[in-house]
């Protein structure tokens, strides 16, 4: 199995402050890894470091076997696509134009687009569910729609590795399912490797192969979701009462809030 | 904060530029001052061929005439120019005075004397466009200090240009009259006018010969209390009239003084160049200024409005100005 992305003992600093340290994982072809943890744990930092936006102050980050630092930006952009937490919405641009920017790493010197480029853009838009919005100015769209446009742009890059930072935070249930389902399908059908930062643990468990739980900059758990998402670990990590239940359809953990810490609510609702 | 080399170099460069600025301020008016040194070799020199050998034939061959202008360029005329453009009001007056008015085809918009100038084509004064000048097909273009930056341009477009900067003292005015007289083929008339003016200047100098302590004069150029420094033409006139003036030690051409300086120096005469046709000041407005009532000039009613156009234009009428000045300053002298 080819490791598309590997972190080994990675430490990332912001100025002099250490954000994450001792991070080790491997992401292979066709694998989806979820990156979870409380606020401020350092998930976005790892995502940005994986995208080449932050240097590792210790340890090594490898992209397809080569040190990430040594991969030229153009090559890196053809392999790896990154979608930030906040979708970019530069005023005046239409949706299709923004998605088309994803083809930049593949274009020649003069930036001229070919038929293939246009077809790839259309396909990316369809997969992300934004085909009907093609002519609309980005400023008019809702946050969720803008998020999907950013995802479409990432898909237009035809990456081998996709890094998504909280792609579902603004999406409704339908689009949560469709985007993560898309990522899952692409990983299975086309060998896409994906690193997805996500808050919803249950959702993560459904769509990922492995889950990395991060707490205060260190790895708290790493492995298949069923192994990592255990109540004691989660309660310790998140500092709030939680319960883990089995999913009705699959062997996948579902994490729910426990009322143990909220006696008033417990007395209100009906008993199970 | 570290101070990388780049920053240090840039700061040094900026400091250098500022130093140049300050230095230039100190000697920036240098070229004006040179030209104003009385009696010095003026910037313009003229050579004419010597008279023919036989003393009986007293006709002097008028041409060719060579002129070296204020910029150091020598221009030779083989015959009198017939289509002259003048961008200098002072030079225009001289041209008409020596009788070359008929040879002038274009003047700048400030050349308003003598009245015949109104019949000539009007041109711009500041940054004149070459097009209208070319259309007049001139064989001589006279430029002054304001148009200095375009002398090269006009020459490159095929016109003959003489850069004659405004004279800074009386001697230079007389030179310019003689020069333009020779260039336009009116050497005799030019000489006559210059000689007459010289006589009148001598008369004035005799009049004030006995003066040991001239009156202190404040020459007001603007209501914001700008005055004329010694390097200006006005300064040289005041010096000839043996007046002392408040701005005597100034290094710049038109320094601005404070009211305190003027009040404390207590001038005997105040000349207003910002009154009459050139502004709104007058004896009554000066009296009304707080603190000025105590000044000798105000108390003795010696606040005079003068025609600033006349005072500022170094041309043939300049001696009228000088005589007027002496009348104002020394009402008792003959």
């Amino acid at each position: 199995m080819n490791a598309q992305l590997s972190f080994e003992g990675v430490e990332v600093r912001l100025g002099r402050r250490v954000i994450v340290s001792g991070v080790t994982f491997e992401l292979g072809e066709g694998e989806v890894m979820a990156l979870c943890g409380p606020n401020g744990a350092g998930k976005s930092t790892i995502a940005r470091a994986a995208a080449g936006l932050l240097p590792a102050s210790a340890g090594s980050i490898r992209l397809r076997g080569s040190a990430l630092r040594s991969v030229p930006p153009g090559d890196r952009a053809r392999i790896c696509a990154y979608v930030a937490q906040q979708p970019a919405a530069p005023p005046g641009f239409a949706v299709r134009e923004l998605v088309a920017l994803g083809r930049l790493p593949h274009l020649g010197l003069f930036g001229a687009e070919s038929e293939k480029d246009r077809a790839t853009v259309e396909q990316a838009m369809e997969r992300a569910g934004v085909s009907s919005l093609g002519a609309r100015p980005i400023g008019e769209l809702s946050g969720g729609e803008q998020q999907r446009v950013s995802i479409a742009r990432a898909l237009a890059q035809e990456p081998r590795l996709l890094i998504l930072d909280e792609p579902t935070s603004n999406l409704d249930l339908r689009f949560q399912a469709s985007i993560l389902g898309l990522v899952w399908r692409l990983s299975r059908d086309e060998g896409l490797a994906a690193l997805v930062v996500i808050h919803d643990l249950s959702l993560a468990a459904l769509f990922c192969d492995r889950l990395l739980l991060l707490a205060e900059g260190r790895v708290a758990g790493y492995g298949p979701p069923a192994e990592v998402l255990t109540a004691p670990l989660l309660v310790r990590t998140y500092g709030t009462p939680l319960r883990v239940l089995p999913h009705p359809e699959r062997l996948s953990p579902v994490v729910v809030h426990s009322l143990a810490g909220h006696p008033q609510i417990a007395n209100q609702g009906g008993e199970a | 904060m570290r101070y990388p080399l780049f920053l240090r170099a840039t700061v040094l460069g900026v400091a250098l530029l500022l130093a140049v600025a300050l230095l230039s301020a100190a000697c920036g008016d240098g070229d004006d001052r040179e030209a104003s040194a009385p009696g010095s070799a003026t910037a313009v020199t003229v050579t004419t061929p010597s008279a023919s050998a036989s003393p009986a034939a007293s006709v002097v061959a008028a041409f060719p005439v060579s002129v070296t202008d204020s910029g150091g360029t020598t221009v030779t005329f083989t015959e009198a120019p017939k289509r002259i453009i003048s961008y200098s009001p002072g030079a225009t007056e001289v041209l008409f005075a020596v009788g070359a008015g008929g040879q002038v085809v274009g003047v700048d918009k400030f050349s308003d004397y003598p009245p015949e100038t109104s019949t000539k084509t009007r041109l711009e004064y500041s940054k004149p466009a070459p097009e209208p000048a070319l259309a007049l097909q001139p064989d001589l273009v006279i430029m002054a200090t304001r148009q200095e930056g375009q002398v090269a341009q006009f020459r490159a477009l095929g016109m003959t240009v003489l850069l004659l900067k405004e004279p800074a003292d009386l001697a230079a005015v007389l030179d310019q009259i003689r020069t333009l007289g020779k260039v336009t083929g009116h050497a005799a008339e030019g000489e006559r006018i210059a000689a007459t003016l010289e006589e009148r200047i001598d008369a004035v100098e005799k009049r004030v010969a006995g003066v040991i302590d001239g009156p202190l004069v404040f020459y007001e150029v603007s209501p914001e209390l700008h005055t004329a420094g010694p390097q200006t033409f006005i300064g040289s006139l005041l010096a000839t009239a043996k007046a002392k003036y408040v701005a005597q030690g100034a290094t710049t051409a038109f320094p601005q003084l404070s009211a305190e300086t003027i009040i404390s120096s207590n001038p005997a005469v105040i000349l207003l160049a910002d009154g009459g046709g050139s502004g709104s000041q007058s004896a009554s407005t000066v009296i009304a200024r707080p603190g000025w009532e105590g000044i000798d000039a105000v108390r003795n009613g010696r606040v005079h409005v003068i025609d600033s156009n006349l005072f500022n234009r170094p041309g043939p009428r300049v001696v009228d100005v000088l005589e007027q000045l002496v009348d104002i300053l020394y009402p008792d002298l003959q």
Partner: protein, 352 residues
């Protein structure tokens, strides 16, 4: 479908018209050149103008006479220089607006104008010979001053190896203020030449010449080519520095190259023709409202329209009060503002 929605859908879909605008730009520019060369303070018949130009182009030299000199040595270089400067200022403005992600950026934002003004002022008041015709000392000092100001602004805004945009703008404001104050000081200490400095600062094309064109073309030409090649990467920059980096762009290098190149060309233009405002701000903005934000179309359109605009503005400056010439900056402001306001109102009506 509501009227509003129809307007909204129409605009981006009308973008294919952008290519029409681009195609129309060239004949419009050529027409402006022809008109501007044919009209002037001195009236010369059209046929003579055309004949003169053709004769020179055919290599037969001039026919002599004032008309020939006026058309070939005075008007034509002036019109071409106005076009070159207008195109450069507009293109630089569009570049800065992209790099700084700020539609109010203009080519004078990071110190070019004030630095050039200070340099020119120093040259004018110094004992150095005063010659506007070729690339004399005034132009040289203006050029050096502009570059020094840009370098100083950059150095002040830099933190480590990156230049945060907001800092860059603030540093530009600070440097500009300082340079302007220094210029005023220089003028006050040298009143004899103060008016000369003042009139240089206005900007005008009175002393245009073939020599100036020859001197400026290499810098300006290189700048145009480089900027036109960077258009798509500048598009990506609109997504943000991070996103652009993940699209494979070397963000800092792109910013430095484009800003330096645009500043260099702007400095050359300012050195030759003084400070002309509005072109670098209004023209790219107006073009963006017409053809959209895709720089691949916007930059060429801006270049063409900037050139045309300034040629026509200079024509106005020459003709409005003929034979007196107005400073061309007044015309650009007077013409630019209302046109821009009209465009803005039309734009606003099309959006919710």
């Amino acid at each position: 479908m509501s009227v509003r929605a129809r307007l909204v859908f129409a605009r981006p879909a009308a973008r294919p018209a952008a290519h029409l605008v681009l195609a129309a730009g060239i004949p419009v520019l050529v027409a402006a050149v022809i008109i501007a060369t044919s009209v002037g303070a001195v009236s010369i018949p059209q046929t003579t103008v055309a004949a003169t130009i053709l004769r020179h182009l055919a290599g037969q030299g001039g026919a002599g006479g004032p008309a020939d000199t006026i058309v070939w040595d005075v008007r034509l270089p002036r019109v071409l220089l106005a076009g070159m400067v207008g195109g450069t200022l507009a293109l630089s403005g569009a570049t800065y607006q992209s790099v700084f992600r700020n539609p109010l950026a203009d080519p004078y934002l990071i110190g070019v104008a004030s630095g050039a003004g200070l340099g020119a002022a120093i040259a004018i008041v110094s004992p150095l010979p005063l010659d506007y015709y070729g690339f004399g000392y005034v132009a040289l000092f203006a050029f050096v001053g502009a570059l020094a100001a840009v370098a100083l602004t950059y150095e002040l805004a830099r933190s480590g190896r990156t230049v945060p945009t907001a800092n860059h703008v603030l540093a530009g404001v600070a440097v500009s203020a300082a340079a302007t104050a220094a210029t005023t000081l220089v003028m006050m200490l040298n009143e004899a030449r103060a008016f000369v400095v003042f009139s240089w600062l206005y900007g005008d094309f009175t002393t245009s010449s073939w020599e100036k064109l020859r001197l400026a073309s290499p810098y300006v030409g290189v700048s145009w080519v480089v900027l036109l090649l960077c258009t798509h990467r500048l598009n990506a920059l609109q997504l943000g520095d991070d996103e652009a980096a993940t699209l494979g762009i070397r963000v800092e290098r792109l910013k430095i190259v484009t800003v330096v190149v645009a500043s260099l060309a702007t400095a050359v233009c300012v050195a030759l023709s003084g400070l002309i405002g509005f072109v670098g701000l209004i023209v790219p903005h107006a073009c963006r409202l017409l053809v959209g934000p895709d720089n691949r179309v916007l930059f060429p359109v801006t270049l063409l329209f900037g050139a045309t605009f300034l040629i026509l503005a200079d024509l106005g400056a020459r003709m409005v009060l003929a034979p007196q010439e107005l400073p061309v900056g007044i015309i650009t402001a007077a013409a630019g503002s209302p046109f821009f306001l009209i465009l803005l109102r039309r734009q606003r009506r099309g959006l919710p």
